[in-house]
Subunit: 558 residues, 2 copies
Amino acid sequence: MSSATRLRRLDERREIIVVERGEHVSFANCGLPYHVSGTIAARDSLLLQTPQALANRFRLDVRVQTEAVAIDRAGRTISLRNVATGELSEQHFDTLVLSPGATPNIPAALDGDPRVHTLRDVADLDRIMEALAATVEDAPLQNAIVLGGGYIGVELAENLVARGLSVTIVQRGAQLLSALDAEMVAPFADHVLESGVALRLGVEVVGFDDDALSLSDGSVLPADLVFSAIGVRPASTLAAESGLALGPHGGILVDELHRTSDPAIFAVGDVAEKTDAATGEPRLLPLAGLANRHGRAVADTISGLDSSIPAAPSPRALGTAIVGFRGLTAASVGWNERELTAQGRAVRVMHSHPLSHAGYYPGAQMLSIKLLVDPASDRILGAQAVGRDGVDKRIDVIATAMSAGLPASALADLELAYAPQYGSAKDPVNLLGYLNRNRAAGTDATLQWHELQAALDSGAFLLDVRAPGQLAEGLIPGATHIPVEQLRERHHELPAGRIVVHCRVGQGAHTAARLLRNLGHDVVNLDGGYLTWRDAQRADALRDNSPASTPTTEGATR
Amino acid sequence: MSSATRLRRLDERREIIVVERGEHVSFANCGLPYHVSGTIAARDSLLLQTPQALANRFRLDVRVQTEAVAIDRAGRTISLRNVATGELSEQHFDTLVLSPGATPNIPAALDGDPRVHTLRDVADLDRIMEALAATVEDAPLQNAIVLGGGYIGVELAENLVARGLSVTIVQRGAQLLSALDAEMVAPFADHVLESGVALRLGVEVVGFDDDALSLSDGSVLPADLVFSAIGVRPASTLAAESGLALGPHGGILVDELHRTSDPAIFAVGDVAEKTDAATGEPRLLPLAGLANRHGRAVADTISGLDSSIPAAPSPRALGTAIVGFRGLTAASVGWNERELTAQGRAVRVMHSHPLSHAGYYPGAQMLSIKLLVDPASDRILGAQAVGRDGVDKRIDVIATAMSAGLPASALADLELAYAPQYGSAKDPVNLLGYLNRNRAAGTDATLQWHELQAALDSGAFLLDVRAPGQLAEGLIPGATHIPVEQLRERHHELPAGRIVVHCRVGQGAHTAARLLRNLGHDVVNLDGGYLTWRDAQRADALRDNSPASTPTTEGATR
């Protein structure tokens, strides 16, 4: 729709036909889960446009319940099938834009089972609402199982819990939200658990009999309602059958103007592979923002074929994404550490736990932020944030810096709006820039949580410099405690050799590490401090203890 | 303090002396107004550090109640005076960092009057709290007058109202918040009025007798408590007496490493002039973020004099600022239209009124955003935003884009985090980029609210294309109404010659303008639509009707 409406604004005379297999065009895909709970109360508010409204305002010929079944590229003709009647017709085109989207995946063991719901369009939502309503009249539904712990799975779980169902998320991977790293997701997962959602990590569904799912670990889950949210695959069958080139991930291959291997045919949205900003390689990124912008860009290109509207290549994609669950937000942009490590890339990693705004102003909330930087170029490769307030703002600022190619150190100098209820004179994003500068200049050397055990095994000395009142939060085994304020007097108590220093979040330890290094010691700072270490331990526990995933006391204090 | 603590972290051995005339170091300047209302309840929470804590952690020699009274630059000696005893002493320095801040201005007519309060430091706050407390025991204070309607004045008014006082803001200029343009401030001013604060715009204080202020328009204001918040001037007397070069605005002149005309002396914070990012000229920008960052940068430079820490020039300043008043936020970055016009610069102006997040998700709030762009280079010169939610995020994203030198059109392609509770698939910042692209490409031509009358006087036809249900909000005199959906049928009703088309916010009018232009008409779109026009009318009314500044019904519906 963003292609069609933009093209009409650019060109009043062109004939524009929109073909849609379903009943609805331009509905609020991203709002669908929120109607399940009634957060978005009116179903109609999800229907943003009707064919009639689009005809009136944009003179679009919108044909719903019409499926494109074949493309005759040589003849510039597309075969259409009336979904209701089965009637076939031919339609000539000068230019074709393919935006069929993606198809939700369903586990092989459940393929074709009519009891399994997906949530991709309004028809899916209607079926879900019908199933939920039926249970009010009959016996109440008890157990809703959400397969998949990604963005859609988490949103579905939030809304099913809000509706009063008992919800379990079954996730094949070892963590929720695979766009983030495990230690960043741990507090989010604990929050999901505390909301009453059960997690089953590292297992798959192998069967569905007698109202119960069989899992790969041999356990059985009672299941009154099953949702599959294990990702989508590009709906590229028609394109492939038409001989258009596909990319390595099964999506339609396009150039930077969204043109397929046939110059008269464009493809946008979830069906098309995007060009990744970091690697330059094709990647699937089924995100609404990219789909919207690329759709509009195609209209500019089409219009430019015979007018003065300049066609601008779309920039490469970062993959910025965000999800909320009952007041907690997780967001990410670019690549995570797990992916970068798998690619064999060197990466500079920084964790921080700043406050969302000045600590002395009421309501400040702790954020956890992670920044990933190419140590050779200082280029930002990715960022992740979790917290109750200000997560979207920080990720958007970093995404903007990444789009602009700002080096990580330049984050320190960004002039972000400051009054105490909005941020800090040194905003969390500025602090990331300082962390990075200290790392780049060698002013600070750090150790990651996953490197700690090896360092201790090699004889490193673990020094905890927190204020005494902070120790009640928990201890890292083997640490010796000397508050930073006593280090000048007591540093002679430290052994020769490497010292790993840690505090709660990394800042006091930075002061301590600088002090000790200036006094001649060999020091590294445990990145992210006790809190990141604790979150990483918790991530391990969540993975290992599943199916008995219940929050620890520590996790519960978040 | 950011200089001193950073320098200690870089260098354990250097002797670092901090001299402070008052009793407190490192207090929360920006939090002071919020203790007046008790929003920040504990006075102690504003005292971030004590001399003892700084000695313990950073081995700083902090001398409070110590005033620097003279600098012997040749002898590298500074004369110190003990404020309590009057005792004088000399202190040698290798490097000197001047950060004395700024002095609040007081109107000439009130100069020296002990009844006039300023709010710059903890001592000021203590005097204010004492004056307020005294009134509880005696007769209750009724009338608090805040002179100045800038950020501090507005914050003071918010907190005095919250404390139950009757508050009047007296502002010499024609509007509150001179960092923004008048039509952007109008809804903010209405919100201030609706909160019970009276506004007296365009008047000055000429006298203070018998518990009443005399104003320049001959009126008299009962005044139990008077606050001066009419800006600050750099506390540069000591620097000037020492022969250091001052800038054109009376602040200390510094280079990009914050070095004064004496290479052994640095100056940072409100006392130093900043280099403006847009003009390259010196400018006073008394902002906490710049002071903090520049202080730290100076430590890097000092350390680099004899170590390997690289000194990085600070980037030029944008002047990002933000203020809240009872749930409404106003923020700005760079220059406003009034200032750019006064500089004689060509400027492309865009107003928009997007929602803070997807309209179908509950809680979406309208924002007003203004973007100012250099039409020749597409460089972003400034931005302003007012609203209840998401203002800080959008200004921070634009400030980041400005820091990075992104052209305005690139705002369209930013990948900002989208889920319906956080933003829109096309974020308000993306939409600004599209508006700009349409303007740059000539796809859209617009007229500003202040150009409308001249256009109508020249015979232009004013066409209102809003939906019929939107007309109740108000009408622009002289407009003819044809909904955009009827234009294809009825455009022959339009006269020859120029047509000014408007809708509510500018988007429907863009569709209408494109349509009519494609049909051969000469069309311009009224930028920002009815809402911007209404806000501009309201700004005029606020300016003209003062002292009778009460909100109109229209304003009250905001």
